[in-house]
């Protein structure tokens, strides 16, 4: 059966059995008789450790507000998948749901609804602690200077005024980099978020717009490391050697594997997300495409490859909220989770398919609304509408 798989994992075949979830009681109770299942576990010895240390999931709570319960549920399922970083893309153009104590107007003017669609300080604390209890880091992202439309109403003068001829057009662009007031605002605001989020790293964004490199100086003074999107590197912004660069673009300016090569050749650490944009959906078992990604398939020395510290599955929120987040995330994100945890040789699609189908039924049993990967059934179908 699956014994030959174990050889690749370096385990003696005698002690190696197919990896079914423990407690799978389906086979133990005859179908015709209702019975109380007993739980069993095979005598087993497992040694395990992750291939990559940073195995993340990005949630976007700006395009659509996600209730705190949804975030906590996601943390639970991440733990089932051994994912260990929640990349919380908390604010963006459409809304500012983060409750800022230093600039309450940000929330009051920027949230979709400042009473119902907000993450209070307590909410943030709850998320961080819930994650911590599961061994999950919370990496907060406050994306600037672009993606900041929602910051404008609460902090007049923060965003660049666009002009139509010589008159302001009424629309705004990115954060205005030339004003002292901007600098002062960022100083204060990032002091607040540095304190609110205990992880060593903050994600500063920097995508799709020329970055303001002085922001990096600010953040460094708060004893934080920072993660940035790849544009900051591509645009040759001066960054510290311990910056982490997140690769999200599949083909531009170069294919993502080449981008990893360039970043690591420059001595910087890298995170891979480009082929793992799970918000992009298509018909069929697209988890396979995510599974087949090999993050280290680029030209480079062993030292370079060691600079790829992991990756993140991203669930951008333009078309996603609590109505469809869970089935869209799971079990597709599980494919990414295995790619980041398991050995590179664990790559056979048939083997993965049969385990993933069983794992998906186990997720259902635990109350996770994970969607099917193909035709079939689980002993307990989802029935919680």
């Amino acid at each position: 059966m699956h014994r030959e798989r174990c050889v690749g994992l370096g385990l003696p075949t005698a002690s190696c059995w197919p990896l079914w979830p423990w407690g799978s009681e389906g086979a133990l109770c005859p179908d015709t008789v209702p019975c109380n299942p007993q739980y069993f576990i095979n005598k087993t010895e497992i040694q395990d450790f992750p291939r990559f240390p940073h195995r993340g999931l990005l949630l976007d709570t700006s395009r659509h507000f996600l209730p705190v319960s949804t975030i906590l549920d996601t943390l639970d399922t991440m733990a089932y998948n051994k994912l260990n970083v929640l990349h919380w893309h908390v604010v963006d153009d459409p809304s500012f749901p983060y409750e800022s104590l230093t600039f309450p107007q940000l929330t009051r003017k920027g949230a979709y609804n400042p009473i119902t669609h907000v993450y209070t300080t307590q909410d943030v604390k709850d998320v961080i602690e819930y994650a911590r209890l599961r061994g999950i880091r919370v990496l907060a992202e406050f994306d600037t200077p672009g993606h900041t439309q929602s910051w404008g109403p609460g902090v007049p003068g923060l965003l660049t005024s666009c002009y139509s001829g010589s008159q302001p057009s009424g629309t705004f662009g990115p954060v205005n980099p030339i004003l002292n007031s901007t600098y002062e605002f960022m100083d204060t605001f990032f002091l607040e978020v540095s304190a609110a989020f205990p992880d060593f790293y903050l994600h500063l964004g920097g995508d799709e717009v020329d970055f303001t490199c002085w922001l990096l100086d600010i953040v460094s003074t708060y004893d934080k490391g920072y993660v940035v999107w790849q544009e900051v590197f591509d645009n040759k912004v001066k960054i510290q050697p311990d910056t982490i660069v997140q690769v999200w673009r599949e083909e531009v300016p170069v294919p993502y594997l080449k981008e990893l090569e360039l970043i690591t050749a420059a001595g910087l650490r890298a995170l891979l997300s480009a082929p793992w944009y799970l918000n992009r959906i298509s018909y069929g078992p697209d988890w396979q495409a995510a599974y087949k990604v090999e993050p280290l398939a680029f030209e480079g020395t062993a030292e370079q490859k060691a600079l790829v510290i992991g990756g993140e599955a991203c669930m951008w929120g333009e078309y996603v909220d609590s109505t469809n987040l869970v089935p869209r995330l799971w079990p597709r994100a599980s494919a990414v989770a295995e790619r980041l945890w398991s050995a590179s040789q664990v790559a056979d699609l048939d083997f993965a398919s049969s385990r993933l189908a069983r794992f998906r039924c186990e997720l259902l049993r635990r109350g996770v609304q994970a969607e099917p990967i193909g035709v079939g059934y689980c002993n307990e179908e989802f029935d919680h509408w």
């Binding site: 459409p94 979709y112 069929g284 929120g317």
Partner: protein, 531 residues
């Protein structure tokens, strides 16, 4: 009647796309045939507002269907109000106190809806009593949905409605959703929830593709082995009481249940519980027996089908039965020695396609004897089977589907359109716009041909769909199809539709339907599964 017309005339017709200061967009979906909204507002009190029968109505409190509907819509309108504190005091003047339902014709309350049901209604909201007038009970159901969509909570949390005059009737009589309970079993609760959502979108046919290759969950009283051997497990079945529950739940919402027992292909699971039903494909290398479609050469096949369809006719009250007939593996038939012999014996079979026609005709005769009307997928028509004149052909193959519609209607058969509405084919972005842009009568043909288009169906095949993702995948994408099949042809601006559909989507979410977002934004009440 004249009084109502007069009232409509008194209301200053207001544009539906309101000017800056004027009317809030109620987000009616699907858009009724004619809507006049007045800027004059009325308030409703959740404690005292009632829906009741008009004294002149042919139906009264004995009509359970309407009694339940009144309760249901009261719940939809006032929703979570129960959990809140006492509602704000209302001025007695300017209060809408009642909605009365007036059924004009002798309409049977216990009847099942049909293809010829009258779903038209007129709604007049003004003064203290609003009137919902309809020819048949089905129009009342449609009108109740529209009425509920007019009501909203203002900034003072008062339930508010604009005075309005609406007349409405559907463009197409057959507006369906196909669910597939073979590729994945769908719990009964999921099917009932789908029916609720369908009613909110004025869909009126549940096309239940109940069995297929992978599983046979339909528990047959005549042939119990079919589900015993053919279902995924003994709990993945629809017992007779489950089927009855679905049919009655649908009826109460004016929705027909159209069962599909697809043959001769798509029947692998049938062979598990019924020996000698399927053709054995003669393959060169025989590692195991490979089965193909139902064997058309055996008399026992038709005896079996007669008995099974007799049961199906009794269990499912709708006039129509869907017989399938798609994707038949003709090569398997060709490879079978028995069938080759059968074909040689009957000289009229020039090729295996004619055998397919022979089979279809036999099944059509069975259905006809049972006084039911058949619907089939397009293949039997494409392969030149001789169909009964009123056989409905469902067009599902996407390539040049408008030409197929032309061919089918030119031959005189009624048509259902599904080809551009395969909702299981997901992709990123706003694909609802493509569904909305379809024009079902956009094919070359005479007026008479166009009249043969009965409507269409959004199909949600189940290869990658089950109860975990069905609701967000169906809604609100199917809503786009719903409006295309109900509303006037001219209602075609996706920009204008977007503004209404976002309101409608949030309303569905508020009512407990996990309808996914159209785009970036928010609802006042986000979706939260009750834990």
């Amino acid at each position: 009647m004249r009084l109502h017309l007069l009232l409509c005339a008194l209301l200053a017709p207001a544009p539906l796309a309101p000017a800056a200061s004027a009317l809030r967009n109620p987000g009616l979906w699907p858009l009724p045939l004619s809507v006049h909204l007045s800027p004059h507002l009325l308030h409703l009190s959740p404690e005292t507002f009632r829906i009741s029968h008009h004294p002149a109505s042919t139906l009264g409190p004995f009509c359970t269907l309407l009694q339940k509907a009144f309760l249901r819509y009261h719940g939809y309108i006032f929703g979570a109000h129960k959990t809140r504190h006492r509602s704000p005091r209302l001025n007695k003047h300017g209060q809408l106190q009642q909605l009365t339902a007036l059924v004009v014709q002798d309409s049977e309350c216990d009847a099942f809806p049909s293809i010829s049901s009258d779903e038209s209604y007129a709604l007049n909201v003004s003064g203290s009593v609003a009137v919902l007038k309809a020819n048949e009970v089905w129009g009342v159901l449609r009108g109740l949905e529209t009425f509920s969509q007019l009501i909203y909570e203002d900034s003072d949390r008062k339930f508010t409605i604009n005075e309005a005059c609406i007349t409405d009737s559907p463009r197409f009589p057959h507006r369906g959703i196909l669910i597939d309970t073979a590729r994945h079993y769908l719990p009964v609760k999921t099917i009932l929830k789908t029916l609720d959502a369908m009613a909110m979108n004025k869909f009126n046919v549940l096309h239940w593709h109940i069995v297929d290759d992978q599983a046979f969950p339909y528990q047959s009283a005549t042939f119990p082995q079919l589900s015993k051997k053919g279902s995924y497990t003994l709990t993945h079945v629809y017992r007779p009481k489950d089927v009855r529950e679905v049919i009655e739940f649908a009826r109460r919402r004016g929705i027909r249940v159209l069962p599909e027992f697809d043959t001769p292909g798509h029947t692998q699971s049938w062979g598990k519980g019924q020996k000698n039903l399927l053709t054995v494909c003669d393959a060169k290398e025989k590692f195991s027996t490979v089965y193909g479609p139902i064997n058309p050469a055996l008399n026992s096949t038709y005896t079996f089908l007669s008995r099974l369809f007799a049961e199906i006719s009794r269990v499912f009250p709708d006039e129509f039965i869907h017989l399938g007939g798609d994707e038949v593996d003709l090569l398997c038939w060709k490879s079978n020695a028995e069938i080759q012999k059968f074909m040689k014996q009957n000289k009229r079979f020039k090729d295996v396609r004619e055998l397919e026609s022979f089979y279809i005709q036999k099944v059509l005769n069975i259905i006809s004897t049972l006084k039911k009307r058949p619907i089939i997928w397009q293949e039997a028509f494409d392969d030149h089977a001789k169909l009964h004149p009123d056989t409905v052909v469902q067009v599902w193959i996407n390539r040049d589907y408008h030409l197929e519609q032309a061919r089918v209607t030119a031959a005189g058969y009624p048509v259902l359109l599904s080809a551009p509405w395969y909702l299981d084919y997901i992709n990123s972005g706003e694909d609802w716009r493509a569904y909305y842009a379809v024009e079902p009568l956009n094919f070359p043909g005479s007026e008479r041909q166009k009249q043969l288009v009965l409507g269409g169906e959004a199909c949600l095949w189940g290869e990658f769909v089950d109860a975990t993702n069905l609701m967000p995948r169906l809604w609100p994408r199917a809503s786009a199809v719903g409006e295309r099949l109900w509303s006037n042809k001219e209602v075609s601006s996706t920009k204008e539709a977007y503004n209404r559909l976002t309101v409608h989507r949030c309303r569905m979410v508020r009512r407990g339907i996990a309808a996914q977002p159209l785009f970036t934004g928010y609802c006042d009440h986000e979706y939260n599964i009750e834990k």
